[in-house]
Amino acid sequence: MTVLENNIQTTSWNGYEKFSFRVAFIFFFLLVVPLDADYYQQWLTTDWSNLHIRDIGKLSGSSFSPIKVQPAQPGSGDLGSIQDSSLDFLKISAESANFGIASYINWGLAFVIGLIGATIWSLLDRKTTNYRTLYYFLIVAVSYSMLIKLQGLTFSKVFPTQMPNLALTQLNTPLGDFTHQKLYWIQFSFVHGYEVFAGLAELLIMLLLFFRQTRAVGAALAIAMIGNIAISNHTYDGGIHLAAAFYALGGAFVLWRYLPNIWNLLVNEKDTNPAIYHYPFEKKWQKYFRLAFKSFVFLMFFVLSAYLHWQNYTYDSYKVPAQKGLTNSRGFYEVTAFKLNNKTVPYSPVDSLRWQNVTFEKWSTISFTVFNTFMIHGEAGRGKQFKDVDRTYESAGTGGGRRHFYYKADTINHVLYLENKNKVYKDQKLKLNYSRPTDSRIILSGLNEYQDSIYVVLDKKDKTYPLYQSRRQPVVWNP
């Protein structure tokens, strides 16, 4: 009877199983356990009285990356909350290193180390009949590593800060001026319902991985959902495919031992005995230790993380500059008059010096368009930046003619100090006087980035925003 045979827990593994396990153990150990001292130091150096989501991101692990991949564009290698380890032996840069197969080089390295290590291990350890205890704990380690590393992504979506609202500048930029990566992110930015849903799905995965009974379901969902994210990151040059693919790989590893059973039950339609080994935690101290560990993880990476992300969402959405913009200046402006060195330049969409239109945001960012065929702002706009000038979600991943400046406003002398947000042009600093004769008019004068004197009259324009009004009727578009 097949059921009977299946039921007997094979306590003795065959050679092939043992060798595979040793490889897997070393491989996942390298991927899951932080190996750099910096990581552990952070537990001591973190300012626990003023915790920020930056800190919890750093404490949630570090990726195994002895080989560093050079980003194609300055700033584009920023991975957001998941931190690279500080180990650094070799740098590579290749086109496929950013997005393609070569970006998985550190996994390849871990696998080779796994093979070598397993061979040595096999030579040294000839007695052990099975590794089921070790296997159990490896699965726990992979599951917990997954859920702990997921917290940042989860809660920054549940409290939608990972993809904040679109800025006016983005709304007034044509589709062709965005990079693939940016468009992919934008889909979560103009409607937040789906972002929150994705966050809740990730939260569900975290919870399912947290408990032994539901670990297999959590792993399956992680493969389905975050595996999907990994694929989309490949097809959109998203840049965090590696981080996402880890969940698919880890999920597959956790699910692995359940698969034959599921197959047997569903596809073969046979009675099935699960025969899954779990470490029993029989002794008292083991029970307490387990309880303490689980409680710690839950309090730290669910409760505290949720609280910090909520706080961030409420008070200082981390991708949006914090400094308020000029009072009541938010809007889209036509450039009604433009003088260059005291000579009027007529409006023209093909002029590379004359501004065409200008946006002021709620926060201290100003953007203007000139004719420019291609000047990409290559950063990814990820990461949790301190300074407003570095918070580039609004401008990163766009090209075309729109330029973005951070500004400091001296509201007494009516001066704006502008600084280009694109790192390639960070030396461009402008000083412009401003006056506001009416509520809807701003006049700027000063030197532009080429040290020519400019005089610009801006008039606010109310536009129809089909993106936000489309459900109502009738929609007549007023440009």
Partner: protein, 502 residues
């Protein structure tokens, strides 16, 4: 380290014997629940809207193609009540028919219980209900999957689109374009839909297939709500049927991976005794699979290889004209108009496509926005009145205009392919017929509100990058326009090339 636990002899042999045999009686509750479920899910598995059958009758079978098959499998759900309101199109009120179907199921179940008192179980009927639900979801998954696998649903992008600002998109359209920008991702999404449906065709892979279609269609239903896509009811219906199919396996899966006990799923397959029964079953099965899996595939391949994408015009445009053009000179009635952000007439820029469409941008001209062909945003005649519309045809927005389904003359195909402007404002789109001997373009506005706007423009092409248009515009004024192809590069197309200024 703790001592490893000893393994005790399994005690489940007796347990296996306790598992109920195949033909045990059902409890009263099970029977009543089944009767209700049978009616409820049965009604969701077959087309009820009479408009659906009207569509079948009016179909042009001589020119059967993938679009017809898509229409057949993609949407049908009981929808005799239609509410025209924001909630009725996008929100909770769009599900208004579900509670009524449930009410019918409850009433039916009640009457059935009265009439059928001696019945011991419904094993066989349960099996056939699952078969109906399975094939319903399977063909929908395969059909939607094909749409994406062959890059039909989110077709390739165009020059005009790249030169439209984000605010000018409807939410649905922007979401659509996020997917169409990456065809390989679209293909992946299509594969996920396809494989879930395909696995549902086979008995043994039903459980896995239903799990996949549940995740896929559930996700689609939610994105439909988030992005105003408007097909949330059929998608949610598919997810619901997937759960119903999976229901059978859930206790077994739960017992296996959550409780980690010995698990069994008792399958019941009715035996068809008479020969004619077997033949009928095989015939129906193979006939349906032939049409909705194989023939559908062949049609898709044919359309894909014969440039018949239903959202893209297929009349070739002026040779080598595709591109984005600056309007270097614009004369209205022989007077030069300079660029101005306030002008209602002067063109700002122009795009030509691979096909016979031209679009231009006018800085300051209000315009009705062209709606999508079906569903989602309210069309002009679909006034939000919040009234309940009872209609024998069912889904009035889909089946209310049967004449729309008649085959049009081939020459009218492209003017009516309005995907380029559906749910987008910002540009004005014209279809054109080119007389390449006399060098004349006969242009007609593609927007249904402005179809009367026509232009006749003579064209000349002094060099490869310049087009000069001259003639009468849509307001019967004479215009003279010099277009120069821009060397603009789109960041969207400059993939993985790093910094490349100028």
């Amino acid at each position: 380290m703790a001592k490893e636990p000893t393994i005790t002899e399994p005690s489940y042999i007796s347990y296996v014997q306790e598992v109920p045999q195949d033909h045990t009686d059902w409890t009263e509750l099970q029977k009543v629940a089944f009767r209700i479920a049978f009616i409820y899910f049965g009604l969701f598995s077959i087309p009820l809207d009479l408009g659906f059958y009207q569509m079948l009758i009016n179909m042009d079978y001589a020119h059967l193609n993938y679009r017809h098959l898509t229409e057949i499998v993609a949407f049908f759900n009981p929808q005799f009540i239609n509410i025209f309101s924001e909630s009725g199109f996008f929100g909770p009120a769009s599900y208004i028919n579900l509670p009524f179907v449930l009410l019918i199921a409850l009433l039916g179940g009640f009457i059935w219980t009265k009439l059928d008192k001696d019945r011991k179980e419904y094993q066989s009927l349960y099996y056939w209900l699952r078969v109906m639900a399975r094939y319903r979801v399977a063909y929908a998954g395969i059909g939607w999957g094909y749409k994406k696998l062959f890059v039909m649903q989110m077709p390739t992008q165009n020059e005009g689109l790249w030169n439209t600002e984000l605010i000018d998109f409807f939410a649905k359209r922007l979401y659509w374009e996020v997917i169409s920008v990456s065809p390989s991702y679209e293909v992946f999404l299509g594969f996920a839909e396809f494989i879930g449906g395909f696995l549902l065709l086979f008995r043994r892979t039903t459980g896995i297939g239903a799990a996949i279609t549940f995740v896929v269609f559930g996700n689609i239903a939610i994105s439909n709500h988030a992005y105003d896509i408007g097909e949330q009811v059929p998608s949610a219906g598919m997810a619901m049927l997937s759960v119903f199919i999976l229901w059978y396996d859930i206790p077994g899966i739960w017992s296996l991976i959550v409780k980690e006990q010995d698990s069994r799923i008792v399958h019941f397959y009715p035996e068809l005794k008479a020969k004619w029964q077997k033949y009928t079953k095989s015939f129906i099965k193979y006939a349906f699979n032939f049409v909705f899996v194989f023939l559908f595939f062949v049609f898709e391949v044919y359309a894909y290889t014969h440039n018949d994408f239903y959202k893209i015009p297929n009349t070739p445009g002026l040779p080598k004209s595709r591109g984005y053009y600056e309007v270097t000179e614009f004369k209205l009635n022989h007077k030069i108009l300079p660029y101005s952000p306030f002008d209602l007439v002067r063109w700002q820029d122009v795009t030509f496509e691979d096909w016979s469409s031209m679009s231009f941008k006018v800085a300051n001209r209000p315009q009705d926005i062209e709606m999508f062909a079906a569903g989602s945003y309210p069309g002009k005649e679909e006034v939000y009145d919040g009234k309940w519309r009872l209609d024998w045809r069912g889904d009035v927005r889909r089946y209310g205009k049967p004449h729309k389904r008649k085959k049009r003359a081939d020459s009218l195909r492209d003017i009516n392919v309005t995907w380029e402007l559906s749910g987008i404002s910002g540009r004005i789109w014209y279809y054109y017929r080119a007389d390449t001997i006399n060098h004349v373009l006969y242009l007609q506005n593609k927007n249904k509100s402005d179809r009367t706007q026509k232009q006749v423009l003579h064209y000349s092409r002094p060099n490869a990058n310049r087009i000069i248009l001259q003639g009468t515009n849509e307001f019967k004024d004479s215009i003279y326009v010099v277009l120069d192809k821009s060397d603009k590069k789109y960041p969207l197309l400059q993939r993985r090339k790093g910094d490349s200024e100028e």
